[in-house]
């Protein structure tokens, strides 16, 4: 399995990758993207099995990334890992086709709960 982690913060990308391991998701290939535009290109060039994306990013934010992916015909499973977990944002994420929204700060348990239907199902 290949997982694309999109976040403009290198520190946060490292934390997300570490949390994936702590949640038991070891042995997966991880591709990093530093904003939505970078992620959009890498979805097409790397064909990941799952995208974990921040919402607030320069260049292209996460919700625009999701819209661009879906309008280009990509059905890659997509989840947000973001500092905002308001009902409004969860509704927008779901309406855009996201499978889940993990709010920062998060735990390995929260990752497993969100990811297991995608990666273990």
């Amino acid at each position: 399995m290949k997982i694309l982690v999109a976040d403009d913060s290198r520190v946060m990308r490292q934390i997300v990758i570490r949390t994936l391991r702590q949640a038991g998701y070891v042995g997966h290939d991880v591709v990093e993207a530093e904003n939505g535009r970078d992620a959009l290109e890498k979805v097409h060039s790397e064909s990941p099995d799952l995208v974990l994306s921040d919402w607030n990013m320069p260049e292209m934010n996460g919700i625009d990334l999701l819209a661009a992916l879906r309008s280009s015909g990509s059905t890659v499973p997509f989840g947000f890992v973001t500092s905002e977990g308001s009902p409004d944002m969860r509704a927008r994420a779901e309406a855009g086709g996201a499978l889940f929204l993990i709010a920062k700060p998060f735990t390995p348990e929260a990752f497993d709960e969100a990811l297991s239907p995608v990666l273990k199902g």
Binding site: R10, V11, R18, N56, P58, T82, S83, S86, K104, P105
Partner: protein, 154 residues
Amino acid sequence: MSSLELVAPSLTDVEMVAAEVWSSFLGDEEPLLIGPPAELTVGWSAAVSVSGEWQGMISVELSAEMADQVTRRMLCLDDGPLPDEDVADAVGELVNMIGGGVKSLMPGPSALSLPVVAAGRVARPSDVTEVCRFDAQWAGSPLVISVHIQSPKI
């Protein structure tokens, strides 16, 4: 004071949000402790703004030593050189998460800005009023988390 009647997070709100960020990403061995207010030589600071139904600015100020420790803890790094970009990144993520938490407690919808990070103190607009200030200590060093909102027009 009319500014105090405006919608603002309580000290308990900010403390709760900050404690969750700290325990999740910096470990429980050294918990974030409340105050007392201390003389803080600001080494790094960062701020995010919320705009929409609720408007405000959330900022974090901490010493250079604490910023170094926070960054090492978040990146799981021991000794060795630490680039300023990593420190700025880590401090920006701290305020991003704390700001996101505060935003979720305030009336919405609203949008969170990208973090602004400074070596030293982030400049604030002149027309804002501090409505909440959380003085805390971590690993023996002080830090300040504050919330500002636009002052009411007189």
